[in-house]
Structure formats: C-alpha cells, structure tokens
C-alpha cells in the first residue's frame, strides 16, 4: 500500500440558499484514484456539494484546491475542461432527442467538410450501442426519443456516457437509484475499473452494500457538516448508519485511503 496524493481538497465549503444553510463548512480530501462514498440523510447537502465541485453552483464560502491549485469553476464546461465528469441525481437528459444525441451531448463526433463540422451519426450510434450493451441495458431503439424510455434505461445512458471521456475525477450522484440488479453490478465493476486507472470517484448512495462494495473511504454529511470520514476497512455498515442518523459521535477524520495493490474485482 502506498499513500496517495490528494486530487481535490475541499476546505470549509459553505452554501446558503436564502435563509437556508445547506452546507456549513465542508472539509475533506479526495485522493488520486480513490473511491469516496459520500453518504448522508435526505437533504444533508450531498447534491449541493456535488454541484459546487462540478461548477454548476457557486459556493457561498470556502476553497477548492484541485491538483494543488485553488480553483473556482464558473460553469460545468470549465469543470469538464479540468477533467471532472458528473452524473447528476436529477437526470440531465434532453427527452426531446434520441438516445444517441443524448449520449454524445456536447461532444458530438464530427468530420469537417470545407471547414464545416458535420455530425457523424453512424459512428455515434455504433459507440452508443456498444456502451449500452456493455452496461447490460436493453433499449429497443437508439433512435427513439428519451422521453419514451423507462427510468432505468434513462439512467443507464446518463451513467455510461461519461466513461467515454476519461477525465480525472468522476462525481456520481445516486447513479444506481433506478438501475436493475445486473446493471448495478456492472456499474459497480465499472467504478472499480476506472479507479484502477487512477481516476478518482465520488459516489453518493443510500444503499450501504453498494458503498461498502466499492468505496475506499466513506465521508458522511449530516445537516451540512462532515459527520464522519472513515476508511471502509475501519468501519461497519451499522456504524455508518449511526453517523448518518446522528446517533454516533463524530469519529476522527481519516486520511486519504491508501492504494490497494490488488486490481479491480
């Protein structure tokens, strides 16, 4: 086991919405290639934190240090440019267009003719078909508009499109909430695979089993504050649940988990 460098450090992040203090000083670190499970009760502030990291929301206070430099992402486009990919809890699909268009949203494959970029529908369709099949999801036609798809089919598009783009940090906000058993299994495997490539992952989930299956470390948020930060191997599901509901006292902060020497399962 080797100690990891931090990829992203959050330092006292706060966020108010009018009179509501959604985040009240969040401080923790995410190591390179580390999988961090972000846990907490409904309304604890998890999604708000994700949106702040991914450039969709400005913090009211605090600092983000990314790859050693203080950053402030003014838009998701900037965060993306810095290598941060995000799967949002409230799905971010355009239901008015088809699966392929959603899969390549904002990153369409083009070929230039006379300097004009032309969409390469065939290539995009093939890539989409492969990714969806790998994820274990069946979608009747990739050319149907997303509005006609089931909840799990939609989530599969959203979850799998980011894999295409690599990046350095992946934020997953309840990515399996609507997925079937098999799709969830493959999703968890995928997370291990990309972590093994050195990409860091933050995953939010309410299912302890999922968190324990992939996470190196667990960060629990309670009413806008960090209520626990422990290595997976040092804790149990029951203890984590008690941290979430506020029955346990806050344990000391855990350092970035060390890299496992074994590859993904």
């Amino acid at each position: 086991m080797t100690a990891r460098e931090p990829l992203l450090s959050l330092d006292g992040i706060t966020r108010n919405f009018g009179a509501i203090e959604a985040l009240r000083g969040i401080t923790f670190e995410i190591g390179k290639g580390e999988v961090v499970a972000l846990l907490g009760d409904n309304g604890a502030g998890k999604s708000t934190l994700v949106k702040i990291i991914s450039g969709g929301l400005e913090p009211s206070g605090g600092r983000l240090v990314y790859e050693g430099r203080e950053v402030r992402f003014g838009s998701p486009a900037e965060a993306k440019a810095a290598g941060i990919e995000t799967v949002y809890q409230d799905l971010s699909l355009c239901t008015n267009v088809d699966v392929v268009a959603n899969f390549f949203m904002g990153r369409e494959i083009v070929k230039r003719f006379l300097g004009i970029p032309i969409l390469q529908e065939r290539a995009m369709e093939a890539a989409t078909a492969k990714a969806i099949a790998d994820a274990g999801t069946r979608i009747p036609s990739l050319r149907t508009n997303v509005e006609h798809l089931s909840g799990g089919q939609r989530q599969a598009i959203e979850l799998n499109r980011f894999v295409h783009w690599g990046g350095k940090l992946v934020l997953l906000d309840e990515p399996f909430a609507a997925l079937g058993v098999e799709q969830t299994r493959r999703g968890l495997e995928m997370i291990k695979r990309i972590a093994a490539q050195g990409i860091s992952v933050v995953i939010i989930t309410h299912i302890m089993a999922q968190a324990f299956q992939v996470a190196d470390r667990m960060v629990v948020i309670r009413q806008g504050q960090v209520a626990g930060d422990v290595r997976t191997e040092d804790t149990t599901a029951d203890e984590v649940v008690r941290m979430i509901t506020g029955e346990a006292v806050k344990p000391p902060r855990a350092p970035i988990a060390e890299a496992r020497t074994t590859g993904p399962a």
Partner: protein
C-alpha cells in the same frame, strides 16, 4: 398489427404531413378556384412566401432553442427603410450611387444584415446578460424598431431602388423571381445547419433542456447570443428582399407579418415549447399560408369576408395536421 414496411410508409407521411397537406390544399384550390391552376400563380405563391419564409428561418431557430422573438417584423422594416433611405432615388431616398453600379448589391445587403444583427445583439444583451424575459425584450424592440422606422423616415416612403437591385425582383429562374430563390436557398442552408451540424444539434438540446445542455458543457449563453444575432440578421435579409420587391420602403411596410410568421412556424411543426422542429416543415407552412392568401386574392369574394375566410382556412389546415395524432394512435 401493421407490417413494418407499411408502418414505415405511414410514418414518413406523418412526419412530412404539412407537405402532403400543402399538396392537397393546392389541388383543391386548383379545382375550385378559377385561374388558380397555372404556373404563374404557383410562382406567385412562392414569391409571396419570400418574406415570411425568410423571417421564419430566424424565428424557428430561436423558438427551437426555447426563446421568442417578436421584433423580427420591425427589424425587417427597419432594414428595408435604412437601405431605402440610402439607395432609393426618390421619396426620402438619398439615392447614393456606387461605381461600379453592381457594388450596391453587396453593400446594401451588408447594411441590411448589419442593421438586423445589431438589433439582434441588443436583444441578446438584455436576455442573456441582464436575464430579462425574451418575450418582453423583443416586444419592446418590436415597438421601438417600428418607432425608429417612423423617426428615420419621418413617416414618408422611399422609392426607386437601383436597377442592379431590382433585377432580383424581375429576373426569374424556373419562373420564380430571384428574391424567392434567395429565401429558398437560405432555408435549405439553415435546414442543413439545424440537422447536420453541432450548432443545430445544440440548439435542439438547449430548447429541450437548457440545464442538461449547460451541465453537458454546452455554452448555452454564447449559443443564445449567436442565435439572436442570426435571427436579427435574417430579418435584415428579409428587409433587403422586401425593399427590392417593393422597390423602396414605406413606414408601415410588413405590418402584420409577425403573426403570419408565427402561424407558419407553428403550422410547420415547431413547438413553441422549444426543442422540436425542422425548417423544411416550416417552409411548407409558409407556402400553405401563401397559397391560402393567393386563393383569397383570386376568389373575388366581398372584401369584408376575406379575413373571416382566412381565419377559417388556417384552422382547417391545422386541423388536418392534428389527424396525425389519431392515426399514430391507431398504428399502435
């Protein structure tokens, strides 16, 4: 159950229903209205579709991206008046001449596009930077734009555009005047952009779910600004064409075209909610309205009833389009 082949055929018809309705309507008029069935009338229909057809391009792009633009009619009039004042020989026209004479074509076109682009940029500034409601911003521009026409012209008309420009209204290719071809080519070009380029794709995405598009890294604000400027410039083009056809400009030029353009856009299948539509459908909508108007022009009914009939025909045409839903349901 329907066979897949037949289903595909029916789907094709449904997807292009406005075109089929157009053909049906023209066929009916050809039978029912004396003098309707002749090349010249069809050419007129296409010629008259020029201005609304051009305006509809920009409006469609904006509506597809989820915005509104009520200013286009006034922008068109403003562009027409500006080039009328600069290049028309009489009335309030200053009659500026360029050597060689043909230079007036690119110069006047550039002026018309620029006037439109400036108004479009102003709208965009208020909507994107100051986050004002697009409806109200462009409604204000509709008012001040026409006001500027009146202020610039003093309410008077300009007349007699240079021959080098008038050529576009007089010369014909396949019986159709060049100004109409300009509009057709512009429609085709933007139909291509909308369907085949990332720019067009992104407009659809923004119109469908701007938050999702933004999160996906699409530069929503930038695209919105571009689209407003485009819509303005295209309205400027419409003004250029209108000034050429009218051989000048009057202060009330184009009054009432805004509603027609909206009607054509909606008939053509663009959803006012954004995210849905194609320009070829819109052009069919424009032709449909134009054939109805032409039929009315030829029918020789008392002037008092023309508006009544126009309203009823628009309704009837859209009613046909609504059958789509029923048929789709039956298909399932």
């Amino acid at each position: 159950m329907v066979s897949p082949r037949r289903r595909a055929a029916i789907e094709f018809v449904l997807d292009n229903l406005v075109w089929f309705i157009l053909v049906a309507v023209v066929a009916i008029f050809s039978f029912a209205v004396p003098n309707y069935f002749q090349i010249g009338i069809f050419a007129n229909i296409i010629e008259q579709a020029t201005f609304v057809g051009t305006l509809a391009i920009g409006l469609s792009l904006l509506i597809i991206a989820g915005y509104m633009d009520l200013s286009i009619e006034s922008v068109m009039a403003l562009s027409a008046m500006v080039i009328g004042i600069l290049f028309a020989a009489s009335g309030v026209g200053l009659g500026i001449t360029l050597t060689p004479e043909w230079l007036v074509v690119p110069v006047s076109l550039a002026v018309a596009l620029a006037v439109g682009a400036v108004v479009g940029a102003t709208n965009a500034f208020f909507v994107v930077r100051l986050k004002m409601n697009a409806f109200i911003v462009t409604l204000a521009a509709y008012i001040w734009g026409r006001g500027l026409v009146v202020a610039l012209s003093g309410g008077r008309s300009a007349q007699e555009m240079p021959a080098a420009l008038r050529v576009f209204a007089i010369e014909r290719f396949l019986n159709v005047p060049l100004i109409a071809w300009v509009s057709i080519v512009a429609t085709l070009a933007f139909a291509f952009v909308l369907r085949k380029t990332p720019f067009g794709r992104h407009l659809l995405l923004i119109g469908g779910n701007p938050v999702a598009a933004y999160r996906a890294g699409i530069r929503v604000d930038r695209l919105t600004v571009i689209t407003f400027i485009l819509a303005g410039a295209i309205a400027g083009l419409a003004g250029w064409l209108l000034a050429i056809r009218t051989s000048g400009a009057t202060a009330n030029l184009g009054v009432g075209m805004l509603f027609q353009t909206f009607a054509a856009v909606v008939i053509g299948g663009v959803s006012l909610k954004g995210g849905v539509g194609s320009l070829t459908g819109v052009y069919a909508g424009v032709l449909l309205l134009s054939s109805i108007q032409t039929a009315i022009n030829l029918m020789g009914m008392p002037a008092h009833f023309t508006q009544l009939i126009q309203g009823a025909m628009v309704l009837a045409a859209v009613l046909l389009d609504t059958m789509k839903l029923q048929i789709r349901k039956k298909l399932a």
